[in-house]
Amino acid sequence: MRILSIRRGFEADHSSSSYEFFALDKLTPEQRAAVQELTGESGRRHLRFHYWGERSIPYGWEEKLLTLGYDILVSESYDWWGVQLSLPHDSTLVGRLQQYECESDGNGFGLKVVDERMILYFGMQLDYGAAYDAFGEDPFEGLADLFETARGELLAGDLSVAWAMVETYGGYADDEAEPVEPLSTSARTLLNVMENY
């Protein structure tokens, strides 16, 4: 049961898309220069873009910034939330994660390898008000904190958060993915948010 698309109409003046990039380690001067050149802005740990109406981040920026030093991207567009994690490429981890790929129409989990980095994508539909309820006044920061923990778990080999996406959005694919038990705390939190909002 899904909403396939939402097109705002004449009362949409407040509608917008936001993208917040978080770096776990401060960007180096070289990385900042590259970011500055691409976007005209840079932040050592945090970079935010906000677009009104139907406009959104320029093509290619997300991927590029996630290979230029930012580790986490949280985006929101019309109640469609996406989190992307950038991790060092690890072919063993890629192989293990592929079974959990379940991205469809922007929801679910996906991964790709770009410039020696693995970029993991988590897409979910959450009502904005509910996101506030779940993550506090700054849902972007809240989701980034949650996925920072999840990122650490993934690097340690715990794939709970990927399984949580299959549980929610996997549909028929969940027959093929190996369940993860017990789930990590971050995965349980994520599952709870996705199921209840």
Partner: protein
């Protein structure tokens, strides 16, 4: 027990993929899958919320926040629903247009050199009675919106009656005008007729006299309850002055601007063809335009016209689909009805005439889509010059430009930022 219901501002209609829901007051359009459509239909009558664990509970917060479902109150008018549409479309083509563009007259008090209104449109205009009969048919098909333009629609004395009738029959009327004929009384009558949005056409620095009229019209409209936008036709002449133009519009209190690009006339004349060739935007121009839009985003709400998806930023197919952006929707989601009753897929493909509603019922014209077969072929975009573009299905390029440039409706849109290969000789030589 709390009882909930679809709000009366909502229209529903089934489609092959599930269905569509339109909120008349907010102008929000939802497309939902079959299960979600059934769920929405189940709230035509008041009922309790689904039990815990029901999959619909995941959708409910959005549906409530968007104003589609609300606690049932005293106002329990039944929402507008098409239970059994005679034809469900084929997924790519909808069962009925979302919006009908109605060129209510070809007459105009201005003589813009780039005007695209074809010569045949000057035939006998559909009368108010004919238009009301047509609106009845559109209401039955559950057309959501009417975009009334011209010519200059305010030249028709019966305009307000037609707009009010559409509103009464559950179709949201919108108006595009050059603004020069707007008076305080006309604005009040537009409000009274239930018009949702008025867009004023702003042509540029060479049309100074006209723009004085538009400024007066804007001031009148911005003091009204109507939603107001400006259609800004960004020609090669206007482009260098675009930042100043946007600043001026902002200073006037405009919040919403729709960016349009010159398009070739379907039936060229010496005048309009010369204007188009001198003003069309090449890729270099589009890059400049994108830079200006990036600089101004946030200060104004900037929309881009159909098939300018490349200027919207993220060319991510999933994201575009989620936001209901379909680029060129000619003959699949929209159509144009000309003053003499002819129906074409859009205003710039006027020669692809599917017939005249004076002779063939509109529903039949829409379903048959005679001469529109290529526009409705799901493989056309993927075999066209747009093949290989990530967003070919979401954007499709501007078919009128492709045809003008190469004589083939499904060649690539040479005036696209993402177009592959060389620009046209004409286009590139002028950059």
């Amino acid at each position: 027990m709390d009882v909930w219901q679809l709000t009366q501002a909502v229209s529903l209609r089934p489609e092959t993929f599930g269905g569509m829901a339109f909120h008349h007051q907010r102008g929000v359009t939802l497309e939902v899958d079959v299960e979600a459509y059934r769920f929405l239909c189940s709230y035509r009558e008041p009922g309790p919320l689904p039990p815990p664990g029901h999959p619909a509970l995941r959708l409910l917060p959005q549906l409530v926040r968007l104003g589609f479902i609300a606690p049932a109150g005293d106002d329990r008018e039944t929402p507008r629903v098409v239970p059994d549409a005679p034809w469900l479309g084929d997924g790519l083509t909808l069962s009925a247009p979302e919006t009908v563009h109605l060129a209510i007259t070809a007459r105009c008090n201005l003589a813009c050199s780039g005007c695209y209104v074809p010569h045949f449109a000057t035939g006998a205009e559909l009368s108010a009675a004919e238009l009301c009969a047509l609106i009845d048919k559109w209401a039955r098909m559950r057309v959501f919106q009417l975009a009334v333009g011209g010519g200059e629609p305010l030249l028709r004395q019966d305009l307000f009656d037609v707009l009010a009738y559409a509103h009464e029959r559950g179709i949201v009327p919108n108006l595009t005008t050059n603004g020069t004929l707007l008076t305080p009384d006309a604005v009040r009558r537009l409000e009274g007729a239930g018009v949702a949005r008025v867009n004023l056409s702003w042509c540029g620095p060479s049309d100074g006299v006209q723009n004085q009229g538009v400024v007066r019209a804007l001031q009148l409209l911005l003091g009204s309850t109507l939603h107001v936008g400006v259609n800004l036709l960004v020609s090669r002449v206007l482009l260098p002055r675009l930042p100043q133009t946007l600043a001026r519009l902002q200073a006037l209190g405009v919040r919403q601007v729709t960016i349009l690009r010159p398009k070739p006339p379907a039936i060229p004349t010496e005048t309009n063809a010369a204007w188009y060739n001198a003003n069309r935007l090449c890729r270099t121009d589009l890059s400049r335009l994108q830079s200006v839009l990036n600089a101004w985003q946030g200060a104004l709400r900037l929309e881009v016209g159909s098939a300018l998806v490349g200027l919207m930023g993220d060319a991510n197919p999933t994201s575009l689909h989620w936001r209901g952006i379909y680029g060129c929707a000619a003959g699949r989601r929209i159509c144009t009805v000309w003053p003499d009753g002819r129906v074409s897929p859009c205003s710039f493909l006027a020669d692809l005439d599917a017939g005249n509603i004076r002779r063939i019922p509109f529903a039949e014209l829409w379903k048959r889509g005679m001469n529109w077969e290529a526009l409705r072929d799901p493989n056309s975009y993927l075999q066209s010059g747009c093949d290989g573009c990530d967003v070919a299905k979401q954007c499709g390029g501007a078919r009128c430009i492709a045809r003008y440039e190469r004589g083939d409706l499904f060649s690539g849109d040479a005036e696209c930022l993402y177009a592959k290969g060389e620009e046209s000789a004409n286009d590139g030589s002028m950059c």
